[in-house]
Amino acid sequence: MGFATSFIWSLIVYLILTAGSGNIIAWSPAELIAGVVIAAIIGYATRNIMSEKLEYFFNPKRWILFIIYAIGPFFFAMAKANLDVAYRVITGKIRPGIVKISPGLTRDESKTLLANSITLTPGTFTLEIDDEGNFYVHWINVPEGKEKPTPEDLCGYLPKWARRIGE
């Protein structure tokens, strides 16, 4: 099972990278053979590593939710963040600070997803995550009276999506 999964994923990635090289659909015969050989080697080498979290990572529901999240809510939040930072670049109105939030996520994967989403969205970037799952976030414009924000104050609907995808 571990071999099959990593074989298929390596083959898919190889085929994406070499698409457009020839005439069998979009690949040349040499690339197809090389892809199968390389994917088999990778699958054999990683068969024990890949089997640990297979059910978690290759759950199609997570992938569909993740793609919806990346195209819709995340891209919108990112566009908003960029306009906000552009405004601060031009006017120079900043009120920086390092704040602490406790989103209450348990798994490492969902914490990674939320931390990376925070870093790419509204004027915030993650500096540190401690053992209890608290995030230390540098915020470029701390509003008055929001020095102890809730996760929703800081990053809106992102923690909800991280919980939906990753937990």
Partner: protein
């Protein structure tokens, strides 16, 4: 028509990258500069790549059915995926290293990490 769409994408992308470079010069300390350097460059590059992808799709369907256009489109789209995966990790690593080496955020109203790292 297609020139206008590509031109608009390129203009948005270059504008955000330009603002990022101004931010790098204008902001007071390392943390605020990381804000400018990560967010705006990612967003600007997404739009520049979007222009490339639009151009390759257009060329494949209306200029010449050459598979090389598919290669260009897919490889540019992969650039965006890798950029979005690596950019926040780099920002986090630089920021954490700066805080660990004792740089205080300039004019901070609150610093929860004081005495914790």
């Amino acid at each position: 028509m297609i020139e206008w769409i590509i031109g608009i994408f390129l203009a948005i992308g270059v504008a955000f990258n330009f603002l990022a470079s101004i931010g790098l010069l204008r902001f007071p300390d390392v943390y605020t500069r990381i804000h400018a350097a990560t967010k705006c460059t990612t967003f600007g590059t997404i739009f520049i790549v979007l222009a490339t992808v639009t151009y390759s799709i257009y060329s494949y369907y209306w200029v010449a059915k050459d598979p090389a256009w598919i290669t260009i489109g897919i490889h540019s789209a992969l650039v965006v995926i890798f950029l979005i995966l690596t950019n926040p990790v780099g920002a986090h690593a630089i920021g954490r290293a700066a805080r660990k080496s004792g740089i205080r955020p300039h004019g901070a109203v609150i610093d929860e990490l004081e005495g914790r790292l």
